[in-house]
């Protein structure tokens, strides 16, 4: 938690050079060289240009998109690509599917991961080490290992092409356990012990003492899980077999292969539709992403 990228005052800093710290620079570090801004700015242009290019090109007509040499600014901006796309594909349905799945997966992760993460951080009990290694050990196992057995399992349960089939395999993710555990480690034992002395049950301590303290961690986990689910691609592609269960990435992926492969205008409009909601959420809540990555190192 302490590792957000804001400059945290170090003991030396507060004692020795308070004035320097107020300007937010590390001690001994020189003021940023103009060259630093130039390098970072150039890098940023390179990183951002695919997004800008995507947005600008999505409002170009099909003729302009194919023009050689390519144009940068749209000469005659048009929304034809979007209207055409929405006429051809049932985007409200895909959007609903993506949302339903992502919300369900997120709620499940918040509940199940926090319960397990809490006992792994704050309880001493028989089997703790085994549990911890079992759950966290799977973080290193490639997704390819479980893909087919998981599909066979889901098929045997009769859940192919259902919301349950899309949701269930992702409800219990080791990543969430790790993130919540890391956070709960920082909660003082005294708080929990005091509640125990007062006679509160373990469940009540968790619900009324621990959970309210962990709001930032819950927010971080919720956002990371939601976006992970929103962008998830391979599993929905395998499990959703009819259009009414497609999520947004699956719909775009299937549309972008085969005979539509060269409908660049429509595809770019589709990419904008898939990316923009995510970017808006990200820009609004970016500090939670930073926290999550800094806390666990995993996106």
């Amino acid at each position: 938690m302490s590792t957000t990228t804001k400059d945290a005052p170090t003991p030396t800093a507060t004692a020795g050079r308070p004035a320097l710290r107020r300007q937010g620079r590390a001690i001994g570090a020189p003021r940023a060289h103009p060259l630093a801004y130039a390098v970072l700015g150039l890098g940023l242009v390179v990183v951002m240009s695919p997004f800008i290019w995507m947005a600008l090109s999505s409002v170009k007509g099909e003729g302009e998109i194919r023009r050689v040499p390519p144009t940068w600014w749209p000469q005659e901006p048009t929304l034809d690509n979007f209207t055409e796309l929405f006429a051809r594909l049932d985007f409200p349905q895909f959007f609903t599917n993506s949302t339903v799945v992502a919300i369900a997966v997120t709620l499940g992760n918040l509940l199940f991961s926090s319960l397990l993460g809490y006992v792994l951080a704050k309880f001493e009990f028989a089997g703790k080490k085994v549990l911890f290694r079992l759950v966290l050990g799977t973080l290193m196992i490639p997704g390819m290992v479980t893909l087919v057995p998981l599909f066979v399992l889901v098929a045997n349960m009769g859940l192919v092409n259902t919301y349950a089939g899309l949701i269930l395999p992702f409800l219990a993710a080791p990543f969430g356990v790790f993130l919540m555990r890391q956070f709960f480690l920082g909660i003082p034992d005294e708080l929990i012990d005091a509640a125990r002395v007062d006679g509160a049950s373990e469940l009540r301590i968790f619900a009324q003492v621990v959970v309210p303290l962990a709001k930032p961690a819950f927010a971080t986990l919720a956002i990371l899980t939601f976006l992970g689910s929103w962008n998830n691609f391979l599993w929905p592609l395998v499990v959703a077999t009819t259009e009414d269960k497609y999520t947004l990435p699956v719909a775009l992926a299937l549309y972008s292969t085969g005979q539509n492969q060269t409908d660049y205008g429509l595809l770019l409009a589709g990419a904008v539709v898939v990316v923009v909601p995510v970017l808006v959420v990200f820009l609004l809540l970016q500090r939670y992403f930073v926290q999550g990555v800094a806390m666990t190192g995993i996106k």
Binding site: T3, T5, D7, T10, T12, A13, G24, A26, G28, A29, P30, A32, Y37, L44, V47, P50, F51, M54, R66, P69, P70, L115, V119, A121, F123, E124, A126, L134, V135, L136, L139, M140, P142, M144, V145, T146, L147, V148, P149, P169, L171, A172, P174, F178, D189, N231, F233, P249, L252, L267, L268, A271, V275, V278, L279, Q286, V290, G297, I298, K299
Partner: protein, 334 residues
């Protein structure tokens, strides 16, 4: 990998006073803890641990998709699948491609991310968040949308990349249709998608570098490069290791880029091991594909161990260090 560091820390992080294992209180806590853990563990056992074991079982049989209806036709064949995988020329091709992707991609991604993080950390204040958010944006973007945009960017005639290369007089290739350039395109895309996470991790790590050491070294006349090499890098070692391990684990499994961009082509030049495995599953060769997925798992483990050895903490005297870690020096020194 986070798994591993975390596993290690469990013995030291123990909280509170140790309870006697036989005490009634300990037993009550154990019951409560398992009650809390139960919902997660039921789901985990069913949808993660179960399939992992099932996959292992598949790997030692000749299971094919048609056998699912007739389980009695399945034979135990030991390590035959593994032998067949290692003799498969297409697997060897895929392994070589994956190795290329990892050996070029991981150092490139780490180096770029570290460079950007260091520059960001060198006195930039107001625009720091702006830059950080900008570099992180590709991380939150759906791979499918990324593929659409990049296919367009890499288009030989109407793409932005060849247009920009044209400004400086370079006649860019047909990236995705060239056996030489398809893989570098994949690496560029993966790097673009991954540096955001690493920059944030490295920025966090840079906060742990002792500023007074920098000051002292600067007073002694050490230049910026020397301070970076002899103070920043050694203090960042655990963070670098962590970054290398999570990037390595991700890159060894690289699958989505060829899946959405090239389907492994042209002429299998971007076929990765994970993608080959996926294809074999698709052809119904379940036992064979499961064996290959375990080979991939083994590769992840080996790579992680190598990284721990190269970048991990060590107490050996300095001279030893120099001799033992040529790779670390090369990777970090860029």
């Amino acid at each position: 990998m986070s798994a591993d560091t975390a596993v290690r820390s469990v013995s030291t992080d123990r909280t509170g006073t140790p309870l006697k294992t036989r005490s009634p209180l300990y037993r009550r806590r154990t019951r409560a803890a398992w009650g809390f853990a139960l919902p997660f563990m039921l789901l985990f056992m069913t949808f993660t641990a179960g399939p992992v074991l099932m996959s292992l079982a598949m790997a030692v049989t000749d299971l094919r998709s048609r056998d699912l209806r007739n389980p009695l036709g399945v034979n135990f064949i030991g390590f035959d699948n593994f032998v067949a995988v290692l003799q498969d020329p297409l697997f060897r091709k895929a392994a070589a491609n994956t190795l290329y992707f990892v050996l070029v991609g991981v150092p490139l991604t780490l180096g770029l991310a570290l460079g950007i993080a260091v520059v960001l950390n060198a006195g930039i204040t107001r625009l720091k968040t702006f830059f950080r958010v900008g570099y992180y944006m590709p991380v939150v973007t759906s791979i499918v949308a990324v593929a659409v945009v990049w296919r367009f960017l890499l288009h030989p005639d109407t793409g932005l990349i060849n247009e920009v290369l044209g400004w400086v007089g370079i006649d860019g290739p047909n990236w995705l249709a060239s056996t030489t350039w398809a893989m570098p395109s994949m690496i560029a895309m993966a790097t673009w998608r991954s540096i955001g996470t690493l920059i944030i991790i490295f920025l966090a790590g840079l906060q742990g570098v002792d500023a007074s050491q920098h000051e002292a070294a600067a007073l002694d006349g050490a230049g910026a490069w020397q301070r970076f090499r002899f103070i920043t890098i050694p203090s960042m070692r655990p963070t670098l290791l962590f970054g290398a391990v999570i990037t390595g684990i991700g890159y060894v499994q690289f699958f989505e880029e060829p899946f959405v961009m090239t389907q492994g082509g042209p002429l299998n030049s971007t076929l990765s091991v994970a993608f080959h495995t996926y294809n074999q599953f698709g052809f119904g060769n379940y036992g064979y594909a499961a064996a290959m997925s375990y080979v991939l798992f083994l590769a992840v483990v080996v790579l992680t161990l190598v990284q721990f050895r190269v970048l991990g903490e060590r107490d050996t005297p300095r001279r030893h260090r120099w001799r033992r870690t040529p790779v670390a020096r090369k990777e970090i020194g860029r």
